[in-house]
Amino acid sequence: MRRVVITGFGTINPVGNNIDDTWNNLIHGKSGISRISNFDINDDYASQIAGEIKDFDPKAHFNRKRLKKIDRYTMLGLVATQQAVDAAKLEDTEFDHNKAGVIISTGIGGMGTFESEAAKLVKRGPKRISPFFIPKMISNIISAEVAIKYDLKGLNFNITSACASANHAIGTAFRSIQYGDADIMVTGGAEASVTPLAVAGFSSMRALSTRNDEPEKACRPFDQERDGFIMAEGAGVLVLEELDHALSRGADIYAEVVGYGATCDAFHITAPAEKGEGGARAIKLALDDAEIEPAKLNYINAHGTSTPLNDKNETIAYKTVFGEHAQNLKINSTKSMIGHTLGAAGAIEAIVCCKTFMEGQIHPTINYENPDPECDLNYVPNESIEMQVDYALSNSLGFGGHNGVVIFKKYK
């Protein structure tokens, strides 16, 4: 089987607009959650807090004409892609563009565009709808925009599985290279759904934290006082590449992708299956795919959303798969600081796994104050730790019962 490595990555998210700032803030336990400013928030919204990108001026990245044609989720995806492409030096080296593909996912797509055009339809009728509405809104357009910009002519689509979207994107990109369909895959996720309708919708589900008076303390994965997830926007993009292809063009190698598992709970549209059964099966599949003994794994980047049900069932799933070894695992939640970027989450967390290998540090799960008897593993509470990590498992679960697990290995 062809080996697959990561030769580039980039991100823009609530704790950093590049890799270095992101890592520095994560290691120091800095929250990116604050009161919503993307739109006029008021007390009618149960949840009034989110992880928003700071100091991002779209005009600095895109000209006037482009700004009108792309949704914010695509802007964030393109910014992260440029960082990843630069790190991989894709624009400076020769490669077969027909064997370079793109799978960048999003959980929802151009939600802001959808809302503004829908409002126009109601207020002013169908003739006022922009011809750019559909191409701005559709969830596959980020993959197309990236292909057009960098002339990547291989396989290209997106995968939407709500909050598991990016892990399914990365896993499918990994398979595409293993199988030989592609030599290079630009993959990851982008999301910009901190919008009135999306916040209202997730609030109606009672899925979001309502700790509005303490935004930075609201996301508290695995803590007993957790009360829901926090919406966030952002993007993470990785360049995956066949090992020999990467070596032959002298690319830097940040990590290896060694395993992928995907399952469905087939249980309920939003609630996880009892005891995290579906997630546990996905983890087992990924471990088998990577051909590693569970005991060899020592670090998990959890889904860790801070909802009562997720964190409890995710913990049970780890105990099911790892048995006694579960107590030895270091488990952290990147979402404790970034919030939940939905379809981008798995991609940002994959980048965190790469940085964990590279830096020999594991960032904390912040706001862990009140132990929950049902969540009794080591979540790296509040302070980062120094530790050499050889394997990292990244876990994502999505509404719909979609489970996606990717395993990364330190490249030596």
């Binding site: 004409k65 482009r66 009108k68 003739k127 006022r128 922009s130 011809p131 750019f132 191409p135």
Partner: protein, 77 residues
């Protein structure tokens, strides 16, 4: 502001081009870099600004700056 000025202003804004490029002879697609969706949006902006309705069969003929100005002047007189 006269119609000609306003039309050119809209074109500069919508197509993201420089004012100097918007000559009367300029073709939206060939000279000003518009694609078919841009031209639809441009026509919608004219409709909005001048509060008129431009039927598709008319819109198809408005391929240059001069043709747009000429059509709008005749409609608004």
């Amino acid at each position: 502001m006269n119609i000609e000025q306003k039309v050119k202003e809209i074109i500069v804004e919508e197509l993201g081009v420089e004012e100097s490029e918007v000559t009367n002879e300029a073709n939206f697609i060939e000279d000003l870099g518009a694609d078919s969706l841009d031209t639809v949006e441009l026509i919608m902006c004219f409709e909005e600004e001048f509060d008129i309705e431009i039927p598709d069969e008319e819109a198809e003929n408005l391929v240059t700056v001069a043709k747009a100005i000429e059509f709008l002047k005749s409609e608004l007189d």
